[in-house]
């Protein structure tokens, strides 16, 4: 019974994830695309929970669906009508090539997965209840992956400064 329930939750989350992903790339209005991406990120958080990644699911909702998407929606609102661009660009050949390339990526990954399906993907490892908990993640970050943790903080600082520099206008440009 519990197993069946997990399948139902997985099916709903995966379906919602793929449907909202298609909505993001196909909707005309960027505002609706951003809203669809919030749905995509929320259903991905459900999939993370099913994979025993509790801390990442929480971080996904807080950082992505919260902070990043609010920034997106503010910028889209600031740009207003200027944010709308024609749906697709290039000649019909380029458009077909884009779809063919995306399909090729998908088929390649699925073929590789199919080859590994029987043996290496069959039985996942047994994990304890605390797998993916904030405590375990934090301990790894402060021991084995301390360098990655510190570099991440520098990347975020540089990106924040870059965002501010790009966003400020100099007086000369303002007059032009």
């Amino acid at each position: 019974m519990g197993n069946f329930l997990v399948w139902v939750v997985w099916f709903l989350a995966a379906g919602g994830c793929l449907a909202s992903g298609m909505a993001v790339v196909s909707l005309q209005n960027p505002f609706y695309s951003a809203l669809a991406l919030i749905g995509n990120l929320a259903s991905l958080a459900v999939l993370y929970l099913l994979l025993a990644a509790e801390f990442l699911a929480a971080a996904q909702v807080l950082v992505y669906a919260g902070a990043v998407m609010v920034m997106f929606l503010f910028v889209i609102a600031y740009l207003g009508g200027r944010a709308d661009a024609p749906w697709a660009g290039g000649s019909p050949i380029l458009r077909t090539a884009a779809i063919v390339a995306a399909a090729a990526i998908l088929i390649e990954i699925v073929v590789v997965l199919g080859l590994a399906w029987g043996d290496s993907l069959s039985e996942p490892a047994q994990v304890s209840d605390s797998f993916g908990s904030p405590g375990e993640i934090g301990e790894l970050f402060l021991t084995d992956h301390l360098l990655a943790f510190e570099i991440t903080s520098i990347v975020l600082l540089v990106a924040a400064i870059g965002g501010v520099v790009l966003g400020t206008t100099r007086e000369k440009e303002e007059g032009a």
Binding site: N3, V6, W7, W10, A14, C17, L18, G21, V24, V25, P30, S33, A34, L37, N40, L44, L47, Y48, L51, A52, A53, L56, Y64, V68, F72, R82, A83, D84, A85, W87, G89, G90, R95, A101, A102, I105, I109, V110, L113, L121, P124, Q126, V127, F131, I137, L140, F141, H145, T152, V155, L156, V158, A159, A160, G162, G163, V164, V165, L166, E173
Partner: protein, 102 residues
Amino acid sequence: MDGPGVGWYLIVAAILFATGAMGVMLRRSPLIVLLSLEIMLNAGNLALIAFSRQAGELDGQIFALAVMAVAAGEVAVGLGLIVAMARRGVALDVDQANVLRG
């Protein structure tokens, strides 16, 4: 592990990645290109977390957190660029932003 095996999660990640790639290649609005990039990064994250569960090691989840931080930085810089483009009166269309084209 109850429910679907890790392979099913990887297939969802593959379809999601292809969707995002299609959006990046097809759409002209830089905002939607950025949103599609987010989909691709999240598909990669889903695959990392699925493999982390398969191996029973937390290293994949640590990597996924680093990817999340890089994605947040990318959004900050990308949106800054889009706002700067709009302020200078450049059309928000990736096909028309071709001053640096070789």
